[in-house]
């Protein structure tokens, strides 16, 4: 097992390197001259001084020298300063990461708790009316744009029924305890964000259980006279759920991407909204570090997924 984990870690290194390289290439492609951005437009500056500044900062060094400098600084946690807010970009990301994790984790929970049981039910009642309706619902779930769903949700639950707040993470003035108030604000955005994952988990759970029920060992269990309930609990369900680990792990980039839209619509103070705000402000250091950090988080999530999968399925860990 430790050999397997080690192999995964070694495989992740070139990808981590690739992520930083692509991020640095993009930084260099970003429009605008970093030197011009640094100087006060009100104070006139001699053209020669610009060159001196460039030299002092090492900006006239070859690409790979600059990349090495940038990478060492980034590893130390220094990813530069926001053009607009004059604070370290890492500080703003730290502030915003919490709300995004609350949102994405809740939406994943909702999609697991709702999606998987419905998918299993769909498989058990294959070709029934229920199966067809759930299949249709799953297709609708991946086809309706999340921002439309968000707007419709706000329209119905916040504006017409007035049972949920239309935006924000906490109320300014409220008698409710913090957690209750947070959950109250969280319910709508997390459900909307989780909709697509719910639909795909449902589809995968259905396919997976149908495949397992078709296996020889299930036929054997049936032949020796086991009851359906026992077949499911002892043989089928656990094996059917294993592939879903991968599906869950693969959802993370989609959730981060989705959070850009959902957080903007719901004014949720997370990294998705930060991304859009940085784009609007043309705050390139901020957006580039966001890109770097989300990519590294996705890489980590994939790594964890692989390891969890190997724990759950011995065939994987003994294969190589």
């Amino acid at each position: 097992m430790s050999k397997y984990i080690l192999r995964r870690l070694v495989l992740a290194i070139p990808i981590l390197f690739g992520i930083t390289l692509i991020d640095f290439v993009l930084i260099n492609l970003a429009p605008g001259d970093p030197i011009i951005a640094m100087i006060d437009p009100a104070a006139p500056i001699a053209p020669g001084e610009l060159e001196v500044l460039r030299e002092n900062l090492g900006l006239n060094q070859p690409f790979f020298v600059r990349y090495t400098i940038w990478l060492t600084e980034a590893l130390k946690g220094n990813m530069g300063y926001s053009y607009v807010h004059s604070v370290p970009v890492s500080q703003r990301i730290q502030e915003r990461l919490g709300p995004t994790l609350i949102l994405t984790v809740t939406s994943l929970l909702i999609s697991v708790v709702v999606g998987i049981p419905l998918g299993l039910l769909s498989a058990l009642k294959q070709y029934s009316k229920l199966d067809y309706s759930l299949t249709f619902a799953a297709f609708a779930g991946i086809s309706v744009p999340n921002f439309f769903l968000a707007l419709a949700g706000i329209y119905i639950f916040a504006l017409k029924l007035d049972v949920l707040p239309p935006f924000g993470m906490i109320s300014l003035r409220t008698e409710l305890p913090y957690t209750i108030d947070l959950l109250h604000h969280l319910l709508l955005p997390a459900t909307v964000l989780g909709f697509a994952s719910m639909a795909s988990l449902m589809r995968f759970a259905r396919t997976s259980l149908l495949e397992v029920l078709d296996q020889d060992y299930v036929t054997t269990a049936r032949a020796k006279g086991l009851q359906q309930r026992r077949i499911l609990s002892a043989h089928a369900l656990r094996n059917a759920l294993i592939p879903l680990i991968t599906v869950l792990g693969l959802r993370l980039p989609g959730l981060f991407g989705g959070s850009v839209i959902i957080e903007t619509v719901f004014s949720w103070p997370g990294i998705g909204k930060l991304a859009i705000d940085s784009i609007t402000d043309r705050d390139y250091p901020q957006i580039m570090s966001l890109l770097l950090i989300t990519a590294v988080l996705v890489l980590l999530a994939n790594l964890i997924t692989d390891i969890v999968y190997a724990y759950a399925d011995p065939r994987i860990r003994y294969a190589d």
Partner: protein, 303 residues
Amino acid sequence: MNQQESAPREISKSLEAEQKQSHFFQSRFWRRYRRHRLALIGTFILLVLVGIAVFAPLITTHDPLKVNMRDTKEPPNEIYVLGTDKAGRDIWARLAFASRISLSVGVVSVSIYIVIGTLLGAIAGYYGGLTDSLIMRFTDTVMSFPGLIIIITVVSFVGPSIYNTMLVIGLLGWPGTCRLVRGQVLQLREMEFIEAARSIGSPGPRIILRHILPNVVPYLIVVATLGTASAILIEAGLSFLGLGVQPPTPSWGNMLNSARQLTLLEQFPHLWLPPGFMIAVTVLSINFIGDGLRDALDPRMTL
């Protein structure tokens, strides 16, 4: 001698061509596809949508771009079938013309990334070794960036427009296709007919193009169809955020943008319900078609 030989060949050729034409509705593909009822409904709806896009000028009475400040936010009435927007523009006309944008962004961006993904995947799978490792690590790297975040970053560099939207989705969307094609090529590479081609001295590029890729086409058709659906969703999302198709050019996504104001959202559902409905119906029908194609072309395939 020559004539005698060529005559039967001509006949069999024309027979083959005839068979191909007249037997589509009896082909195995069609028989399987027909059984997928949702796919048939999807096909029908998509044909209607393509019809709306092609004949947009004929089926609308108002100019989709013409601002009319006297008739703003009109609810649906006899003059404006679906009402007017904030600037008094006819919503039905804008919806119809927007379908041209959404469908073409979907088709163009997916065509771009299918070409990139197929070439990279085929090269990685066929040549193996270091080439394979390099290409696949590059693919993994690109896949690590959350799609929408890297797309809006690149769009912010090049500026939002229809063509940049197509290009950015096209240039960043290929990793999934690349992985799929590589997987297929790895299997095909070991088959006897490829060994035969290699043993008579066919060069690598020729084997890839003539013998391997034709066998991957069914998979590509399915991937391209489902990909078009998600490309349309991405374009709509970008335009909704103001980073895609720019007004006054109508796109379903940017028509929903005005509903971000809560007062408009509450008081004028006719502003945002129709474009949202159009996106959902379009994407849904393309997804149904993709599912039907998957069943008809290769039932073993899982995506």
